[in-house]
Symmetry: C2
Subunit: 516 residues, 2 copies
């Protein structure tokens, strides 16, 4: 028998004896013999060696068309300039009916109302929004309801294909010509690119937008060239000072000091508070005050934490630098100190939003949390939490990692003032459920500590330590005895304006149009 | 209008107005209302908080069954102990007909012949094999042909789903209880886990096997807990000294010194040899001798390289430490020096096999190579290269990154002695094509330099520099005038024993059973 010709027929004839679906021929050229000795042209050696184009060229070459979905990250928060930069070119190119899937939207994005009115944007998918844009959405000006997902829920939606991104635009504080990029180097340092990483890895086309093009190879790779199609240089991607907003400050409010004391009492008097405990501290005023109190307890009792998770601030960086915590896992750097630390301290580790909280991967980091401290707009007597709609029903917040950490952590602690303005923050039924009550373990206000009845273990531990608790009903009554019951919001139930997606993709609640 | 009940029907009724495929209900519990206020049981807080099990338990719980595919990495090369450890338990459990998809197989895996004979293993997919196992495969003892893929081709096959891994077993020199793991810390340090990363991220179940369980959290994460199902502690995963085999040494052979001189002449007399050039140096004797010569030229001409790629040895680490190269991108650490460097030098960067060379991602690093130096068993006058079958037709090598870098690099240089034993290494037609001739630019032997006629640019540059070239036909004639033509191998063409897959999944060549 002579050596068989490698014809298609021959290859198919031996297919039966091999253990996989053979693809013997190039699908693009099914009639080509692939016996390469006959090839007389060179392969395109190195193929693409420079991905730099103008933003306009990137958008054109990405194939962006009417009706597609584009994505952004919100690591620059109020300082973001990238969505505007991109949308101006989208407008110039006359591309309409886009869905904007940003990891969140801030007051930097109020300009989008014009783009929605003019038909360039037909839908928003985001962790939340606020300010003029929140009001605009709540007044029913969008063609289709906004979809609100937690950070982990968004990671799940993207990785599962529920949220298909046609073109991701990723602002990066440094990139080389091939798209190796990060948020750690450059004048516009924002720290972790945790949200952008998921987009870059899963979008059909990925565009890196940078104001700091560095020589190849960029040695700090948060997003690798293997996921990037185009690199665009612009004047400025964002103002890193904008990542620190009012939400992130040390408390000076006396109510918050009481709340912080109560939170610290819960933590330090439960069994999980021991060497190598883990915690996410949140960024609200009260939760940050906890840092000071907790730090003292840790030093006094010689307890060191294993890791802090989530949005990372300078306060956790101090804990790391002082040896009170071993590692920080950072999906979003919340101030300039965190931004610098993640760039220089190998124990301050960048993680993607999927690593952080996608409930469908094999172990999101939220599942290893002992404690999480979270703030809220209102809670109800079923322990449900609302962090999205205000007392007027208008969207003015973001789900963030709230539902993710509440469900993952062994003890989730929600803290909020009992009364804000002329309203009780503990109500019979929250306007909008963002974090379901069965995932919430403790609610703390300036009036006291309420433990979810499902968590008898926590109640017992606090009781044994002499820490008093009260019920949410008692809190509600106390507040309403002073200020009365709030008037119910008048929604227009014929017009849903936002769907609240639970972490797993089910619909948890709906926000309706507010009546003006 | 009152607030609508969140019934399934209602959610479906508003589906038309929202821009995505809504999944309003848990697919597992379609009849459950997901309005979470009614839930009265706690979620499983933190779910899995410790993944440690015995190897036997891991295999049982992974659901491994007859006929499935398991995978391994070969970072320990001759020192690997993991495949044997796993296969002993597989045998104990009586699981049969497995396909072993290892990134490569070495002389540490000769024991597999028994497992094939006894029916535990029915097929092998690998970059190559050698020694007793290579002979065994070549003699036709496997039920189905072995599939040979390059490292990039394997990455592509795994990520595209062509190669579906049911259970990946990843030896790691350190891991925590959740599976955050690496090859950089611990007594069994092997350096980069470049091959294992792809397996871990894409396998249905991933088992980390470690002999160095560290406290949670392991702060150096090559493979993240988000991709790991089980963590298994064993006595020893491998002998890191085994990663340095005969292939990796500094040359002392005079023929190789001549070859190294020729290779250096090609590099230093082509236009790409300028500041910020990039290079993969291979691990063969001659290619390593090039380091010494090239280094001198770099210093003399004040030229610094931007990066070295691929299998990294102590020689490239020296270049990095001396500031002659900016960064090392390491998919496989080839000696203890490289293993230490990747653990400590932030400019020595671990990359996965997919980042290295998957031809279907957006830019594998091989595509940014200027030069690659590769060795070979034989070449033919069409510039095709064989690195798998010996002159007796027996499988005794591995494709490795050979076809990947030859195709990606701007100038691929293959070096080999003109005569080995009583045989010419330049022949009319290689026994087995691993790297197709149209991707090969220069072939260097101790007789001289041959440039692919397709690369007139290289020929011109060398001519301008006064470097003489000869043809492959001249080399072949010179050798055969001395030692005559080799007797053709007698294959049994009725029995294919190995299919050579090209990088894109097409079949490039077939190895047949050797006649004894």
């Amino acid at each position: 028998m002579s050596r068989p010709e490698m014809t298609k027929e021959y290859l198919e004839s031996i297919k039966g004896s091999i253990p996989y679906e053979m693809k013997p021929f190039d699908v693009k050229n099914p009639n080509t013999s692939n016996f390469s000795t006959n090839k007389t042209t060179l392969p395109n050696k190195g193929i693409i060696r420079d991905k730099r184009v103008s933003l306009k060229e990137a958008i054109i070459q990405s194939g962006l068309k009417n009706g597609m979905t584009i994505s952004f990250h919100h690591h620059f928060r109020s300082g973001d300039k990238t969505i505007k930069t991109v949308m101006e070119i989208v407008k110039e190119l006359g591309i309409k009916d886009l869905t904007i899937a940003s990891s969140s939207l801030t007051d930097a994005h109020n300009f989008l109302t014009n783009f929605i009115n003019d038909g360039y944007v037909k839908a928003l998918q985001t962790s939340g929004c606020r300010d003029t844009l929140g009001k605009f959405v709540s007044e029913g000006h969008c063609k289709t309801p906004m979809i609100i997902r937690s950070h982990g829920g968004r990671g799940r939606a993207i990785e599962s294909g529920d949220l298909k991104i046609d073109v991701a635009f990723i602002a990066a504080s440094s990139s080389d010509m091939m798209g190796n990029s990060n948020g750690k180097i450059g004048k516009s340092r924002c720290g972790s690119l945790g949200y952008g990483i998921v987009d870059a890895e899963n979008a059909n086309k990925t565009v890196i937008i940078t104001d700091n093009l560095v020589d190849y190879p960029n040695k700090v790779i948060s997003i690798s060239q293997t996921h990037v199609d185009f690199v665009v240089e612009v004047e400025e991607i964002g103002d890193a000072k904008g990542i620190m907003t009012n939400e992130i400050r040390l408390s000076s409010n006396p109510k918050e000091e009481i709340i912080a004391k109560n939170v610290t009492n819960v933590i330090t008097n439960t069994e999980l508070f021991k060497d190598k405990f883990s915690i996410q501290m949140g960024t609200g005023g009260a939760s940050l005050s906890v840092v000071k109190l907790l730090k003292k307890e840790m030093i006094d009792k010689n307890i060191k934490a294993s890791f802090c998770l989530g949005g990372i601030t300078g306060h956790q960086v101090s804990l790391l630098n002082e040896g009170l915590v071993e590692a920080l896992y950072d999906t979003q750097s919340f101030d300039m100190i965190a931004g610098e630390s993640i760039a220089t301290n190998p124990n301050h580790i960048e993680i993607s939003a999927s690593m952080y909280a996608n409930p469908h991967n094999k172990s999101p980091f939220v599942n290893k949390l002992d404690y999480v401290i979270l703030s809220a707009l209102e809670v109800d007597t079923n322990f449900n939490v609302n962090v999205i709609t205000g007392s007027d029903g208008v969207i003015r917040g973001a789900a963030g990692g709230h539902p993710d950490t509440a469900e993952g952590a062994k003890i989730s602690i929600i803290c909020l003032p009992l009364i804000r303005g002329r309203l009780s923050c503990v109500v019979e039924k929250v306007n909008t459920i963002i974090t379901p009550g069965h995932t919430v373990d403790v609610i703390v206000t300036d009036l006291g500590i309420a433990v979810n009845p499902l968590r008898k273990d926590i109640q017992d531990q606090l009781k044994a330590a002499g820490i008093k608790t009260i019920t949410l009903e008692e809190m509600q009554k106390f507040a309403e005895d002073i200020i009365g019951k709030a008037k119910p919001i008048e929604w227009d139930y014929s017009k849903p304006v936002a769907l609240i997606e639970d972490r797993d993709g089910t619909i948890l609640d709906i926000v309706y149009k507010v009546k003006k």
